[in-house]
Amino acid sequence: MKKNFSQVFLFLAVLTLTVTTLWIYLSVHRALNKSDKPILTPQETKVLSPILDDSVFEELKKRNI
């Protein structure tokens, strides 16, 4: 079936638009999920426990030497 020039041009334009849309979607998806190096190191995020066992002091006080 012989297509005229206008139809081929339209087909190419639609294909270009589709590919462009897909490319943009993938780029945005990649930008949203791409994780660069973490802002904080594990040492910086490590939370210190403020709980202190007071009985240790009593135990140490009993030891005079």
Binding site: F5, S6, I24, L48, L60
Partner: protein, 207 residues
Amino acid sequence: MNTNENKEGSRYFIKLPKIRSTVKTLSFFWLSFTFVVIAFFLIFAIKPTLVTIAKLNKEIEDKTLASTQLQKKIDSIVAAQDVYAKNSSNIYLLNDAFPNKSEFPKIAYFFEQIATDSGVNLTSLNIEKVEEKALPAKEPSSLQNSQLNFSVSVSGDYPNLKGFIAKLESSRRILILENTVFSRTKKEESFELTLFISGRASYEKKF
């Protein structure tokens, strides 16, 4: 003359088919042109904008998470400061138990003192520092410690030696006793009981 020239020149031209400017052709052309223009703007205008928005959103999300984690850490540090202030009068006990220097003279003095108190003879005392390799900085270790190995030998009566061990165990400084050996040796006409103890004492290592 002119007619002849036109005839000669005509062989250099190709007769193109006539593009019909019908309504259908024009519609196809404008529709295609519109799509191409939209694609052009999508590539050069919309895409960079959307990618930038996505990157900024991701950055905001990451930094919010980091901020939450740091806030949690700050809260714990504030709580720890309160606990420290409350127990500041007892901190010396922790320094005694786990000093930040080897302080081997104190250990030597301690052995001498408990030997005197227990009524046993201190026959030998060895203290040896053990060097340790530094852990890699990536590992977030809470406390890195270094060790002093010691071995002590005392002689005396069994109850006194027992008292010596009891006093050793009641040391404020953390001492780990690894070996305790009793042996009996003949001295002149009587037997002498000897106690050999080896162990280690830890202290905080500063890199």
